[in-house]
């Protein structure tokens, strides 16, 4: 019935999503695809420094931005690798992919290209005005998906991966971390 499961994963994604994805895939012998969309909505997305009255981008700022963006991308891949490893250890056939664009649209497009049977998404739990302005990825996906959708709702007591804890975990596992000493001790707006 369910042969291909697409998991839309981001940093704020609840641990519950991966746990349920793995257990579901194990039980139905399905393939997993982990997807991370690099989108401006994500809190860790780097911000380009530019000034309204001075539209010239300095080389330094651009370099800084590029570095931060690479770092951000790299972290996303590391995150996906770690989750994929977990899933493979559980005996599930797992792939991962990182795309750029509007998260909702990318998720639906990949689901139809890869002919997924089920999409797993988390819910940020935004309500009312917040939802209208910030937009809801899960809402877009539920209205436009070509297949079934499982929305995994955060329980209050469940654990989520925060960026900090992920970094600690990484620091233990990977000795050589990407070089970003340039801005690590500097204030962000201090050029």
């Amino acid at each position: 019935m369910i042969d291909k499961i697409l998991v839309a994963a981001d940093y704020q994604a609840n641990k519950l999503i991966f746990d349920s994805a793995i257990s579901l895939a194990k039980a139905t012998k399905a393939d997993l695809m982990l997807l991370h969309v690099l989108g401006e909505d994500e809190p860790s997305f780097p911000i380009m420094l530019n000034y309204a009255d001075h539209p010239v981008l300095s080389d330094y700022d651009y370099e800084l931005y590029k570095k931060r963006y690479e770092d951000y991308k790299h972290r996303g891949i590391k995150f996906l690798q770690a989750r994929a490893k977990e899933a493979r250890l559980a005996g599930v056939n797992t792939e991962f992919i990182q795309l750029t664009g509007n998260p909702g649209r990318e998720i639906c497009q990949l689901a139809s290209n890869w002919s997924a049977d089920l999409i797993l998404v988390g819910s940020r739990g935004l309500k009312g005005l917040k939802e209208i302005f910030l937009g809801s990825v899960s809402n877009y996906v539920t209205h436009n998906a070509p297949c079934s959708v499982l929305i995994v709702r955060n329980d209050s007591d469940s654990v989520s991966y925060s960026l900090d804890s992920f970094d600690q975990e990484e620091a233990q596992n990977v000795p050589e971390s990407p070089q970003h000493g340039l801005m690590s001790n500097e204030p962000f707006f201090g050029s």
């Binding site: 369910i2 746990d19 959708v149 499982l150």
Partner: protein
């Protein structure tokens, strides 16, 4: 992971797919199924007779005999409609129990969205399985979308099953698809 699975069933051909997915989920996680059918006149349910729809409440008439007769007919229609729902629920329950899943069912009258959410809350369901008919745009705005209500107000995870709307569905063909 998903031990208690609430399945929202209605009188539409998609119910079969909804139930099948819920059953496979229950088998995967050794969960219990709870089947729920919500009776609501406002629904776009082909099993509702025109008479029921016309008299959303009971008939009021000056002549007491006419009024009594009309209300009797109303009750009969209502009863028949209820029975139809229970028959579907029984059918699915038997199928699930035959598959080794412990299952119960229940039928409630009320606004579908809020009833499903409240029921999920009170029976501590881990996941709600519900069909998505795929009305979009204006149609969704006017017909209202039960699944959309449930997505926004549910206390737990939701499995939306994609059940595209089939054109020209007669009651017979729906019956055939449900009991297939």
């Amino acid at each position: 992971m998903f031990n208690k699975i609430l399945v929202a069933i209605d009188y539409s051909p998609g119910s079969k797919q909804v139930f099948d997915q819920a059953l496979s989920l229950a088998k995967a996680d050794q969960g219990n199924l709870i089947l729920l059918h919500v009776l609501s006149i406002e629904e776009d349910d082909p099993a509702i007779t025109p008479y029921l729809r016309q008299r959303k409440d009971h008939c009021i008439h000056v002549d007491s005999r006419i009024m009594r007769r009309a209300n009797e007919v109303y009750d009969q229609e209502w009863f028949a409609w209820k029975q139809q729902g229970i028959r579907i629920l029984r059918h699915f329950t038997e199928q699930a129990i035959a598959g080794g899943i412990s299952t119960e069912f229940s039928q409630i009258t009320g606004h579908p969205g809020s009833t499903i959410c409240e029921f999920a809350h009170s029976c501590h369901a881990n996941v709600i399985v519900i069909g998505r008919s795929g009305h979009s745009g204006l149609k969704e705005m006017f017909l209202g979308s039960v699944s959309n209500y449930v997505i926004h107000y549910a206390p737990c995870s939701i499995l939306l099953v994609h059940t595209p709307v089939l054109k020209s569905t007669s009651p017979q063909s729906i019956e055939k698809q449900i009991y297939a």
